[in-house]
Symmetry: C2
Subunit: 247 residues, 2 copies
Amino acid sequence: MRFRGIVSYNGTKYAGWQIQPSFHTVQHVIQKILSTMHQRSIVIYGSGRTDAGVHAIGQVFHFDSDMNLDGEGWMRALNAQLPNDIRIRNVEATTPDFHARYSAIGKRYDYLVNTGLYDPFRYTLVHQVNQPLDLPLMREAASLLVGTHDFTSFCANTIEETPNQIRELRRLEIVEEGETIRFILEGDGFLRYMVRMLVGNLLEVGLHKMNVESLKDILNAKDKLATSKIAPPCGLYLVRVYYRDLP
Amino acid sequence: MRFRGIVSYNGTKYAGWQIQPSFHTVQHVIQKILSTMHQRSIVIYGSGRTDAGVHAIGQVFHFDSDMNLDGEGWMRALNAQLPNDIRIRNVEATTPDFHARYSAIGKRYDYLVNTGLYDPFRYTLVHQVNQPLDLPLMREAASLLVGTHDFTSFCANTIEETPNQIRELRRLEIVEEGETIRFILEGDGFLRYMVRMLVGNLLEVGLHKMNVESLKDILNAKDKLATSKIAPPCGLYLVRVYYRDLP
Protein backbone atom coordinates (compact mmCIF):
# COMPACT_ATOMS: atom_id res chain seq x y z
CA MET A 1 0.00 0.00 0.00
CA ARG A 2 1.25 3.48 -0.87
CA PHE A 3 0.93 6.36 1.61
CA ARG A 4 1.20 10.11 1.11
CA GLY A 5 2.51 12.19 4.02
CA ILE A 6 2.64 15.92 4.68
CA VAL A 7 5.42 17.16 6.95
CA SER A 8 6.37 20.50 8.54
CA TYR A 9 9.93 21.10 9.60
CA ASN A 10 12.07 23.78 11.07
CA GLY A 11 15.10 23.41 8.80
CA THR A 12 17.51 25.31 11.06
CA LYS A 13 19.46 22.27 12.23
CA TYR A 14 19.26 20.23 9.02
CA ALA A 15 21.40 19.96 5.92
CA GLY A 16 18.17 20.12 3.94
CA TRP A 17 15.59 17.50 3.01
CA GLN A 18 17.46 15.06 0.84
CA ILE A 19 19.54 12.23 2.21
CA GLN A 20 23.30 12.69 1.84
CA PRO A 21 26.03 10.53 3.33
CA SER A 22 27.19 11.84 6.71
CA PHE A 23 24.75 14.77 6.79
CA HIS A 24 21.79 15.23 9.10
CA THR A 25 18.77 15.56 6.79
CA VAL A 26 15.00 15.44 7.30
CA GLN A 27 14.53 12.54 4.86
CA HIS A 28 17.13 10.56 6.78
CA VAL A 29 15.39 11.13 10.14
CA ILE A 30 11.97 10.02 8.84
CA GLN A 31 13.38 7.04 6.91
CA LYS A 32 15.25 5.84 9.96
CA ILE A 33 12.09 5.74 12.07
CA LEU A 34 10.10 3.99 9.31
CA SER A 35 12.92 1.49 8.74
CA THR A 36 13.06 0.64 12.46
CA MET A 37 9.27 0.16 12.50
CA HIS A 38 9.45 -2.20 9.50
CA GLN A 39 12.71 -3.88 10.49
CA ARG A 40 13.89 -3.36 6.94
CA SER A 41 15.03 -0.41 4.86
CA ILE A 42 12.17 1.92 3.83
CA VAL A 43 12.78 4.71 1.32
CA ILE A 44 10.62 7.83 1.22
CA TYR A 45 10.30 10.09 -1.83
CA GLY A 46 9.89 13.82 -1.32
CA SER A 47 8.33 16.32 -3.72
CA GLY A 48 11.79 17.79 -4.12
CA ARG A 49 14.78 18.82 -2.09
CA THR A 50 14.95 21.82 0.18
CA ASP A 51 18.38 23.29 0.96
CA ALA A 52 20.16 23.49 4.29
CA GLY A 53 18.36 25.83 6.68
CA VAL A 54 15.21 26.04 4.53
CA HIS A 55 11.89 25.28 6.27
CA ALA A 56 8.73 23.50 5.21
CA ILE A 57 5.12 23.97 6.20
CA GLY A 58 3.84 21.31 3.79
CA GLN A 59 6.55 19.14 2.23
CA VAL A 60 4.94 16.05 0.66
CA PHE A 61 6.44 12.54 0.52
CA HIS A 62 5.30 9.02 -0.25
CA PHE A 63 6.36 5.55 0.83
CA ASP A 64 5.18 1.96 0.44
CA SER A 65 4.33 -0.26 3.38
CA ASP A 66 2.49 -3.44 4.17
CA MET A 67 1.88 -2.38 7.77
CA ASN A 68 -1.73 -2.25 8.76
CA LEU A 69 -1.96 1.36 9.95
CA ASP A 70 -4.42 4.12 9.03
CA GLY A 71 -3.47 7.79 8.64
CA GLU A 72 -3.97 8.57 12.32
CA GLY A 73 -1.91 5.55 13.26
CA TRP A 74 1.02 6.58 11.04
CA MET A 75 0.92 10.13 12.38
CA ARG A 76 0.94 9.01 15.98
CA ALA A 77 3.69 6.43 15.44
CA LEU A 78 5.94 8.87 13.57
CA ASN A 79 5.34 11.99 15.69
CA ALA A 80 6.01 10.04 18.88
CA GLN A 81 9.56 9.39 17.67
CA LEU A 82 10.35 12.45 15.61
CA PRO A 83 12.41 15.30 17.09
CA ASN A 84 10.60 18.50 18.11
CA ASP A 85 11.51 20.32 14.90
CA ILE A 86 9.83 17.84 12.53
CA ARG A 87 6.11 17.18 12.68
CA ILE A 88 3.92 15.02 10.44
CA ARG A 89 0.72 16.89 9.57
CA ASN A 90 -1.15 14.25 7.64
CA VAL A 91 -0.83 10.72 6.28
CA GLU A 92 -3.31 9.13 3.87
CA ALA A 93 -3.44 6.00 1.76
CA THR A 94 -3.03 6.86 -1.91
CA THR A 95 -2.97 5.12 -5.28
CA PRO A 96 0.07 3.07 -6.39
CA ASP A 97 0.74 5.50 -9.24
CA PHE A 98 1.02 8.53 -6.96
CA HIS A 99 4.55 9.92 -6.82
CA ALA A 100 5.35 12.84 -4.52
CA ARG A 101 7.75 14.31 -7.07
CA TYR A 102 6.50 13.27 -10.50
CA SER A 103 2.79 13.75 -9.77
CA ALA A 104 3.31 17.31 -8.53
CA ILE A 105 1.86 20.00 -10.79
CA GLY A 106 2.96 23.02 -8.78
CA LYS A 107 4.47 24.40 -5.62
CA ARG A 108 4.13 27.38 -3.38
CA TYR A 109 7.09 28.90 -1.54
CA ASP A 110 6.93 31.85 0.86
CA TYR A 111 9.92 33.99 1.75
CA LEU A 112 9.82 36.08 4.95
CA VAL A 113 11.76 39.28 5.53
CA ASN A 114 11.72 41.15 8.83
CA THR A 115 12.09 44.92 8.42
CA GLY A 116 11.36 45.68 12.07
CA LEU A 117 13.66 45.52 15.07
CA TYR A 118 16.04 42.57 14.87
CA ASP A 119 14.29 39.67 16.61
CA PRO A 120 16.48 37.26 18.66
CA PHE A 121 13.54 34.83 18.74
CA ARG A 122 13.22 34.54 14.96
CA TYR A 123 16.76 34.89 13.63
CA THR A 124 16.65 31.44 11.99
CA LEU A 125 13.06 31.96 10.75
CA VAL A 126 13.16 35.28 8.86
CA HIS A 127 15.72 37.23 6.87
CA GLN A 128 16.54 40.53 8.57
CA VAL A 129 16.73 43.68 6.43
CA ASN A 130 17.53 46.89 8.28
CA GLN A 131 17.03 49.42 5.48
CA PRO A 132 13.59 50.52 4.26
CA LEU A 133 12.24 48.63 1.23
CA ASP A 134 10.49 50.30 -1.69
CA LEU A 135 7.53 47.92 -1.97
CA PRO A 136 5.81 49.54 -4.97
CA LEU A 137 9.04 49.33 -6.96
CA MET A 138 9.59 45.72 -5.90
CA ARG A 139 6.05 44.88 -7.02
CA GLU A 140 6.71 46.52 -10.39
CA ALA A 141 9.86 44.39 -10.75
CA ALA A 142 8.02 41.27 -9.58
CA SER A 143 5.41 41.68 -12.32
CA LEU A 144 8.17 41.32 -14.94
CA LEU A 145 9.13 37.94 -13.52
CA VAL A 146 5.64 36.44 -13.51
CA GLY A 147 4.91 34.24 -16.52
CA THR A 148 6.76 31.57 -18.47
CA HIS A 149 10.45 32.37 -18.76
CA ASP A 150 13.83 30.76 -19.11
CA PHE A 151 15.12 31.23 -15.56
CA THR A 152 18.72 30.25 -16.31
CA SER A 153 19.99 33.50 -14.77
CA PHE A 154 18.21 32.76 -11.50
CA CYS A 155 19.36 29.25 -10.70
CA ALA A 156 22.36 27.09 -9.90
CA ASN A 157 21.39 24.13 -12.10
CA THR A 158 23.79 23.28 -14.87
CA ILE A 159 22.46 22.78 -18.40
CA GLU A 160 23.72 19.19 -18.18
CA GLU A 161 21.56 18.27 -15.18
CA THR A 162 18.56 20.43 -16.15
CA PRO A 163 18.47 21.05 -19.91
CA ASN A 164 15.13 22.80 -19.73
CA GLN A 165 15.26 25.85 -17.46
CA ILE A 166 11.94 27.27 -18.60
CA ARG A 167 9.42 27.48 -15.77
CA GLU A 168 6.03 29.09 -15.33
CA LEU A 169 5.96 31.47 -12.38
CA ARG A 170 2.22 31.81 -11.85
CA ARG A 171 2.25 34.18 -8.92
CA LEU A 172 4.75 36.47 -7.23
CA GLU A 173 3.06 38.60 -4.61
CA ILE A 174 4.68 40.83 -2.02
CA VAL A 175 2.48 41.20 1.04
CA GLU A 176 3.06 43.50 4.01
CA GLU A 177 2.21 41.88 7.34
CA GLY A 178 3.15 44.53 9.88
CA GLU A 179 6.93 44.68 9.79
CA THR A 180 7.21 41.31 8.03
CA ILE A 181 7.30 41.28 4.23
CA ARG A 182 5.99 38.01 2.76
CA PHE A 183 6.93 37.01 -0.79
CA ILE A 184 4.50 34.41 -2.16
CA LEU A 185 5.73 32.45 -5.19
CA GLU A 186 3.70 29.84 -7.03
CA GLY A 187 4.74 27.98 -10.12
CA ASP A 188 4.83 24.68 -11.94
CA GLY A 189 8.31 24.02 -10.59
CA PHE A 190 11.34 25.80 -9.24
CA LEU A 191 14.99 25.42 -10.12
CA ARG A 192 17.70 25.16 -7.49
CA TYR A 193 18.12 28.50 -5.60
CA MET A 194 15.48 30.05 -7.90
CA VAL A 195 13.25 31.46 -5.15
CA ARG A 196 16.18 32.76 -3.13
CA MET A 197 17.80 34.35 -6.21
CA LEU A 198 14.55 35.99 -7.32
CA VAL A 199 13.99 37.34 -3.81
CA GLY A 200 17.65 38.37 -3.47
CA ASN A 201 17.42 40.43 -6.67
CA LEU A 202 14.02 41.91 -5.76
CA LEU A 203 15.50 43.05 -2.45
CA GLU A 204 18.26 44.83 -4.37
CA VAL A 205 15.55 46.67 -6.29
CA GLY A 206 13.69 47.43 -3.03
CA LEU A 207 16.88 48.89 -1.55
CA HIS A 208 17.44 51.01 -4.70
CA LYS A 209 20.71 49.21 -5.40
CA MET A 210 19.37 47.91 -8.70
CA ASN A 211 16.77 49.33 -11.06
CA VAL A 212 13.88 47.49 -12.65
CA GLU A 213 15.50 47.65 -16.06
CA SER A 214 18.61 45.83 -14.79
CA LEU A 215 16.45 43.07 -13.36
CA LYS A 216 14.84 42.66 -16.78
CA ASP A 217 18.31 42.50 -18.37
CA ILE A 218 19.35 39.76 -15.95
CA LEU A 219 16.26 37.70 -16.80
CA ASN A 220 16.83 38.16 -20.54
CA ALA A 221 20.54 37.33 -20.32
CA LYS A 222 19.80 33.65 -19.53
CA ASP A 223 23.30 33.54 -18.11
CA LYS A 224 24.51 31.95 -14.85
CA LEU A 225 26.91 34.85 -14.38
CA ALA A 226 24.26 37.55 -14.76
CA THR A 227 23.66 37.77 -11.00
CA SER A 228 25.04 36.26 -7.82
CA LYS A 229 22.49 37.85 -5.46
CA ILE A 230 20.83 35.23 -3.31
CA ALA A 231 18.71 35.67 -0.18
CA PRO A 232 19.70 33.47 2.79
CA PRO A 233 17.92 30.14 3.41
CA CYS A 234 16.42 31.05 6.81
CA GLY A 235 13.58 33.08 5.27
CA LEU A 236 12.39 30.35 2.88
CA TYR A 237 9.41 28.04 3.44
CA LEU A 238 8.05 25.30 1.15
CA VAL A 239 4.39 25.97 1.90
CA ARG A 240 2.50 23.60 -0.34
CA VAL A 241 2.80 21.09 -3.15
CA TYR A 242 -0.08 20.86 -5.60
CA TYR A 243 -1.36 17.66 -7.25
CA ARG A 244 -4.08 17.08 -9.81
CA ASP A 245 -7.36 15.91 -8.26
CA LEU A 246 -6.14 16.77 -4.75
CA PRO A 247 -7.50 19.70 -2.79
CA MET B 1 30.09 56.62 34.64
CA ARG B 2 27.29 54.12 35.28
CA PHE B 3 25.19 52.75 32.38
CA ARG B 4 21.84 50.97 32.38
CA GLY B 5 21.20 48.44 29.59
CA ILE B 6 18.09 46.60 28.44
CA VAL B 7 18.63 43.26 26.74
CA SER B 8 16.41 40.69 24.93
CA TYR B 9 17.55 37.13 24.69
CA ASN B 10 16.35 33.81 23.41
CA GLY B 11 17.35 31.64 26.36
CA THR B 12 17.16 28.33 24.48
CA LYS B 13 20.91 27.78 24.28
CA TYR B 14 21.88 29.31 27.61
CA ALA B 15 22.23 28.01 31.14
CA GLY B 16 20.33 31.13 32.23
CA TRP B 17 21.42 34.69 32.89
CA GLN B 18 23.80 34.43 35.80
CA ILE B 19 27.46 33.62 35.39
CA GLN B 20 28.45 30.13 36.59
CA PRO B 21 31.80 28.42 36.14
CA SER B 22 31.88 26.27 32.97
CA PHE B 23 28.34 27.16 31.86
CA HIS B 24 27.31 29.25 28.88
CA THR B 25 25.30 32.15 30.32
CA VAL B 26 24.01 35.46 28.96
CA GLN B 27 25.82 37.50 31.59
CA HIS B 28 29.07 35.78 30.68
CA VAL B 29 28.68 36.55 26.97
CA ILE B 30 28.00 40.26 27.55
CA GLN B 31 30.75 40.61 30.18
CA LYS B 32 33.29 39.01 27.89
CA ILE B 33 32.63 41.54 25.13
CA LEU B 34 32.74 44.48 27.54
CA SER B 35 35.93 43.16 29.13
CA THR B 36 37.62 42.82 25.74
CA MET B 37 36.57 46.38 24.86
CA HIS B 38 38.02 47.71 28.13
CA GLN B 39 41.05 45.41 28.21
CA ARG B 40 40.19 44.68 31.85
CA SER B 41 37.53 42.72 33.65
CA ILE B 42 34.10 44.39 33.60
CA VAL B 43 31.27 43.02 35.75
CA ILE B 44 27.62 43.59 34.86
CA TYR B 45 24.77 43.36 37.37
CA GLY B 46 21.40 42.02 36.24
CA SER B 47 17.99 42.69 37.80
CA GLY B 48 17.96 39.03 38.78
CA ARG B 49 18.73 35.63 37.41
CA THR B 50 16.66 33.81 34.82
CA ASP B 51 16.89 30.01 34.68
CA ALA B 52 18.21 27.83 31.87
CA GLY B 53 15.98 28.02 28.79
CA VAL B 54 14.05 31.07 30.07
CA HIS B 55 13.82 34.07 27.74
CA ALA B 56 13.90 37.82 28.26
CA ILE B 57 12.28 40.67 26.38
CA GLY B 58 13.57 43.33 28.79
CA GLN B 59 16.21 42.12 31.24
CA VAL B 60 17.94 45.13 32.83
CA PHE B 61 21.61 45.35 33.84
CA HIS B 62 24.11 48.02 34.83
CA PHE B 63 27.86 48.42 34.56
CA ASP B 64 30.48 51.09 35.18
CA SER B 65 32.81 52.34 32.49
CA ASP B 66 35.11 55.25 31.77
CA MET B 67 34.78 54.77 28.02
CA ASN B 68 33.45 57.77 26.17
CA LEU B 69 30.44 56.21 24.43
CA ASP B 70 26.82 57.33 24.32
CA GLY B 71 23.84 54.96 24.37
CA GLU B 72 23.81 54.49 20.59
CA GLY B 73 27.54 53.82 20.64
CA TRP B 74 27.25 51.13 23.31
CA MET B 75 24.37 49.47 21.47
CA ARG B 76 26.24 49.38 18.18
CA ALA B 77 29.48 48.15 19.76
CA LEU B 78 27.77 45.38 21.74
CA ASN B 79 25.26 44.23 19.10
CA ALA B 80 28.01 44.00 16.49
CA GLN B 81 29.71 41.32 18.60
CA LEU B 82 26.80 39.59 20.32
CA PRO B 83 25.46 36.29 18.97
CA ASN B 84 22.14 36.36 17.10
CA ASP B 85 20.12 35.24 20.12
CA ILE B 86 21.10 38.18 22.35
CA ARG B 87 20.24 41.74 21.41
CA ILE B 88 20.78 44.97 23.34
CA ARG B 89 17.63 47.13 23.13
CA ASN B 90 18.79 50.24 24.94
CA VAL B 91 21.73 51.70 26.83
CA GLU B 92 21.59 54.96 28.79
CA ALA B 93 23.83 56.77 31.24
CA THR B 94 22.35 56.60 34.73
CA THR B 95 23.13 57.83 38.24
CA PRO B 96 25.89 56.21 40.34
CA ASP B 97 23.32 54.99 42.89
CA PHE B 98 21.27 53.04 40.31
CA HIS B 99 21.48 49.28 40.81
CA ALA B 100 19.71 46.94 38.37
CA ARG B 101 18.75 44.56 41.17
CA TYR B 102 18.39 46.68 44.31
CA SER B 103 16.67 49.65 42.66
CA ALA B 104 14.01 47.45 41.04
CA ILE B 105 10.51 47.91 42.47
CA GLY B 106 8.74 45.31 40.37
CA LYS B 107 8.85 42.87 37.50
CA ARG B 108 6.60 41.51 34.81
CA TYR B 109 6.86 37.96 33.53
CA ASP B 110 4.75 36.44 30.75
CA TYR B 111 4.25 32.72 30.28
CA LEU B 112 3.11 31.40 26.89
CA VAL B 113 1.16 28.19 26.31
CA ASN B 114 0.28 26.90 22.85
CA THR B 115 -3.02 25.00 22.78
CA GLY B 116 -3.12 24.76 18.98
CA LEU B 117 -1.37 22.32 16.69
CA TYR B 118 2.14 21.51 17.86
CA ASP B 119 4.46 24.07 16.23
CA PRO B 120 7.95 22.88 15.13
CA PHE B 121 8.95 26.54 14.73
CA ARG B 122 8.19 27.54 18.32
CA TYR B 123 8.96 24.45 20.39
CA THR B 124 11.59 26.28 22.44
CA LEU B 125 9.42 29.42 22.71
CA VAL B 126 6.05 28.19 24.05
CA HIS B 127 4.88 25.38 26.29
CA GLN B 128 2.67 22.95 24.36
CA VAL B 129 -0.56 21.73 25.99
CA ASN B 130 -2.65 19.34 23.94
CA GLN B 131 -5.76 19.10 26.11
CA PRO B 132 -8.37 21.88 26.32
CA LEU B 133 -7.94 24.36 29.18
CA ASP B 134 -10.83 25.64 31.33
CA LEU B 135 -9.94 29.33 31.23
CA PRO B 136 -12.77 30.63 33.47
CA LEU B 137 -11.78 28.16 36.18
CA MET B 138 -8.10 29.08 35.82
CA ARG B 139 -9.01 32.75 36.17
CA GLU B 140 -11.01 32.00 39.33
CA ALA B 141 -7.96 30.17 40.74
CA ALA B 142 -5.64 32.99 39.64
CA SER B 143 -7.68 35.54 41.57
CA LEU B 144 -6.89 33.67 44.81
CA LEU B 145 -3.17 34.06 44.16
CA VAL B 146 -3.21 37.82 43.55
CA GLY B 147 -2.27 39.90 46.58
CA THR B 148 0.37 39.73 49.29
CA HIS B 149 1.06 36.15 50.32
CA ASP B 150 3.74 33.93 51.74
CA PHE B 151 4.65 32.01 48.55
CA THR B 152 6.78 29.36 50.30
CA SER B 153 4.77 26.58 48.64
CA PHE B 154 5.49 27.96 45.17
CA CYS B 155 9.26 28.36 45.20
CA ALA B 156 12.54 26.53 45.48
CA ASN B 157 14.28 29.01 47.80
CA THR B 158 15.32 27.69 51.18
CA ILE B 159 14.40 29.65 54.32
CA GLU B 160 18.13 30.05 54.93
CA GLU B 161 18.80 31.89 51.67
CA THR B 162 15.48 33.77 51.56
CA PRO B 163 14.03 34.17 55.06
CA ASN B 164 11.15 36.32 53.81
CA GLN B 165 9.04 34.52 51.22
CA ILE B 166 6.20 37.03 51.31
CA ARG B 167 5.69 38.73 47.96
CA GLU B 168 3.02 40.95 46.47
CA LEU B 169 1.57 39.51 43.28
CA ARG B 170 -0.09 42.60 41.83
CA ARG B 171 -1.48 41.09 38.67
CA LEU B 172 -2.12 37.62 37.30
CA GLU B 173 -4.07 37.78 34.06
CA ILE B 174 -4.79 34.97 31.65
CA VAL B 175 -5.28 36.29 28.13
CA GLU B 176 -6.39 34.31 25.09
CA GLU B 177 -4.49 35.25 21.90
CA GLY B 178 -5.86 32.88 19.31
CA GLU B 179 -4.53 29.47 20.28
CA THR B 180 -1.85 30.96 22.51
CA ILE B 181 -2.67 31.49 26.19
CA ARG B 182 -0.64 34.28 27.78
CA PHE B 183 -0.22 34.44 31.55
CA ILE B 184 0.80 37.95 32.69
CA LEU B 185 2.31 38.19 36.17
CA GLU B 186 3.40 41.40 37.83
CA GLY B 187 4.71 41.77 41.34
CA ASP B 188 7.24 43.43 43.60
CA GLY B 189 9.53 40.43 43.22
CA PHE B 190 9.47 36.74 42.39
CA LEU B 191 11.05 33.79 44.17
CA ARG B 192 12.98 31.10 42.34
CA TYR B 193 10.64 28.99 40.15
CA MET B 194 7.67 31.00 41.48
CA VAL B 195 6.18 31.95 38.09
CA ARG B 196 6.65 28.45 36.66
CA MET B 197 5.16 26.81 39.77
CA LEU B 198 2.16 29.17 39.80
CA VAL B 199 1.56 28.51 36.10
CA GLY B 200 2.19 24.77 36.52
CA ASN B 201 -0.49 24.57 39.20
CA LEU B 202 -2.94 26.80 37.31
CA LEU B 203 -2.57 24.48 34.32
CA GLU B 204 -3.52 21.54 36.57
CA VAL B 205 -6.68 23.45 37.48
CA GLY B 206 -7.33 24.24 33.81
CA LEU B 207 -6.99 20.56 32.94
CA HIS B 208 -9.41 19.63 35.77
CA LYS B 209 -6.68 17.64 37.49
CA MET B 210 -6.83 19.90 40.54
CA ASN B 211 -9.69 21.96 41.97
CA VAL B 212 -9.55 25.57 43.08
CA GLU B 213 -9.86 24.59 46.73
CA SER B 214 -6.72 22.45 46.50
CA LEU B 215 -4.77 25.34 45.02
CA LYS B 216 -5.87 27.47 47.98
CA ASP B 217 -4.73 24.72 50.36
CA ILE B 218 -1.30 24.62 48.69
CA LEU B 219 -0.90 28.39 49.08
CA ASN B 220 -1.98 28.25 52.73
CA ALA B 221 0.28 25.28 53.53
CA LYS B 222 3.44 27.43 53.13
CA ASP B 223 5.26 24.16 52.65
CA LYS B 224 7.92 23.27 50.04
CA LEU B 225 6.40 19.80 49.74
CA ALA B 226 2.86 21.03 49.05
CA THR B 227 3.31 20.87 45.27
CA SER B 228 5.96 19.82 42.77
CA LYS B 229 4.11 21.02 39.66
CA ILE B 230 6.27 23.29 37.57
CA ALA B 231 5.77 24.50 34.00
CA PRO B 232 8.83 24.11 31.71
CA PRO B 233 11.22 27.05 31.19
CA CYS B 234 10.62 27.45 27.43
CA GLY B 235 7.31 29.33 27.95
CA LEU B 236 8.70 31.93 30.34
CA TYR B 237 9.72 35.51 29.43
CA LEU B 238 11.07 38.25 31.71
CA VAL B 239 9.21 41.10 30.02
CA ARG B 240 10.03 44.15 32.08
CA VAL B 241 11.72 45.41 35.21
CA TYR B 242 10.20 48.46 36.90
CA TYR B 243 12.15 51.22 38.63
CA ARG B 244 10.99 54.28 40.54
CA ASP B 245 11.12 57.45 38.43
CA LEU B 246 11.63 55.47 35.23
CA PRO B 247 8.94 55.14 32.60
